[in-house]
């Protein structure tokens, strides 16, 4: 765990750069984390982030397929928004834990 200042706010991060406490998240922090991953956030990005946060809050496990069925983007669209590892990166930017995919 490490402490870091992002967008003028002190936050706790895991060793992989995920917010320890999702309630410390705000849009400015999202924009900063996204920049580090080389992503410029659009409104559509934020819609996905809100969906992720809501789903996480309700205690449900997230999968790429679930986001693809959200009605916001399809899976291909999600890959375009967050290339490489869409759920990994979008979760990081949404301030929720790294998807653990319930092993």
């Amino acid at each position: 765990m490490e402490e870091k200042t992002i967008a003028n706010q002190n936050v706790k991060l895991t060793s992989e750069g995920y917010l320890v406490d999702p309630s410390q998240w705000n849009k400015e922090i999202a924009i900063e984390i996204a920049k580090e991953e080389g992503i410029d956030l659009s409104d559509l990005h934020f819609e996905v982030l809100e969906f992720l946060r809501k789903t996480h809050e309700s205690g449900n496990t997230l999968t790429i397929r679930k986001v693809g069925k959200s009605g916001i983007v399809d899976i291909k669209g999600l890959y375009k928004l967050f290339p490489g590892g869409p759920l990994k990166y979008s979760s990081k930017i949404a301030g929720i834990p790294k998807p653990s995919s319930c092993v």
């Binding site: 899976i75 291909k76 590892g85 653990s100 995919s101 319930c102 092993v103």
Partner: protein, 413 residues
């Protein structure tokens, strides 16, 4: 007469029937179990069939052998559960009323979720080992296969027995080595996860093991479709992995009956309280095993540990007491690694798999996150334990709740 109904006579449902028949007064409670299939499969044994270690007969017995006397058994498909009116409609038109319902309808593979999977290569060059038919077909195929690219791919998470693909690829390494053609076989593991496993400490151990065996891991690969013409896996971000033989874990979903009942999420798993095992929607419906959406492994060991909690909470609910038993997500998995060795992991919702000894601190006899012969014996012995002790709902000398004793805490961050 009060009625307890159990849907599903697999590992979880059978254990619950055995435990509850002993606990509930026969003059007061009627217990009924409904299942559409008459054969009980020892699913962990499917893994060994492709390599000729087990045959079909080693993994199947009649379900009726394991149901206790005094339980009514109905072999029928369920049309739907009507939770509002406390009844279950069977496909033949029969209606079963219940005071309490336990859903243990499991998870199954769904080959139609991935375009190109149910195509011309299915069961010719593409196989699964999550069904008895698939495992036997693969066993016949391997007998005469002369080598090439063998790809083990995972379609989606969650899926039953998350360590099985790792075991499969390790056993393939051993099998082709013994056959003398390992140099002609290229082995890779394709996964949508970011590594061989998701939790960091276990991933490190397993990645090293796979790399020692010259097995390539292709992470973050999310299968969109299978190109039958070019024999390639294609991901959503347009990466491609060619194969000569593909062994796949198809997308896992809950039973269609769950969707018909309006009880499932988008994968047909049932939203369930991860601690009490009560369904989110109805107070008198409980869910156990792979059918639940709880964030732990879909595995027999999880169902086994959860059974102790559900047993207590169901008795609590019947007596109108609060649901005080709490499930911790405990899972315990043997990982067969080939050449007569195995590894073992033990973990729960909160604690990732750690190195150590199990079940006795410092003694074992099993080594956690270690590759040992003893762990392999544990896995082999387990089939006997499963048929004779576990399904019958008898006590094993292992606590349902995960313990930190024997685990090396210094590995935690």
């Amino acid at each position: 007469m009060k009625r307890l109904l159990i849907i599903g006579g697999g590992t979880a449902g059978t254990m619950m029937a055995n435990k509850l028949r002993k606990a509930l007064d026969k003059n007061e409670w009627e217990i009924t179990i409904v299942d559409k299939h008459k054969t009980h499969y020892y699913q962990p044994g499917f893994l060994f069939i492709p390599f000729g270690i087990y045959s079909k007969d080693d993994v199947q017995k009649p379900k009726s052998d394991f149901f206790p006397t005094g339980v009514k058994v109905i072999y029928s498909d369920v049309d739907k559960i009507d939770g509002e009116n406390n009844k279950v409609l069977l496909q033949g038109g029969q209606v079963l009323k219940y005071d309490f319902l336990i859903i243990a309808s499991g998870a199954k593979t769904n080959i139609d979720e991935t375009p190109g999977l149910n195509g011309k290569l299915w069961k010719k060059s593409i196989f699964d080992f999550y069904t008895i038919e698939g495992a036997v077909a693969l066993s016949n195929f391997f007998k005469t296969w002369e080598g090439g690219k063998l790809v083990m791919a995972i379609s989606e998470i969650p899926f039953k027995c998350p360590v099985a693909p790792i075991e499969f690829i390790c056993l393939a390494d051993a099998y082709f080595t013994k056959k003398g053609i390992r140099d002609k076989v290229e082995l890779s593991l394709v996964t949508p996860m970011s590594g061989a496993f998701t939790k960091p400490i276990a991933t490190k151990m397993l990645s090293e093991l796979l790399s020692e065996k010259n097995i390539k891991v292709i992470p973050d690969f999310y299968i969109e479709r299978i190109d039958n013409e070019n024999k390639t896996l294609v991901s959503y971000d347009e990466m491609e992995v060619p194969f000569d033989v593909l062994t796949i874990v198809p997308v896992n979903t809950g039973d269609e009956m769950i969707a018909r009942s309006g009880l499932g999420d988008d994968m047909n798993f049932i939203p369930t309280n991860m601690h009490t095992l009560q369904s989110d929607k109805f107070e008198n419906i409980f869910v156990i095993g792979d059918a639940a959406n709880i964030p732990t492994s879909k595995a027999g060991s999880v169902a086994h540990f959860a059974a102790d909690v559900l047993y207590e909470n169901l008795l609590n609910a019947i007596e109108g007491r609060p649901l005080t038993a709490k499930f911790d997500g405990h899972a315990n998995c043997y990982i067969e690694t080939g050449f007569g060795k195995g590894a073992l992991i033990d973990f729960n919702y909160e604690t990732e798999p750690l190195p150590g000894t199990y079940p006795l601190p410092g003694i074992g006899p099993f080594g956690l996150l270690k590759n040992t012969k003893m762990n392999h014996y544990g896995k082999i012995l387990f089939r006997w334990i499963y048929w004779h002790i576990l399904l019958k709902g008898k006590e094993l000398p292992i606590e349902a709740e995960m313990t930190m004793a024997g685990k090396k805490k210094e590995y935690l961050q």
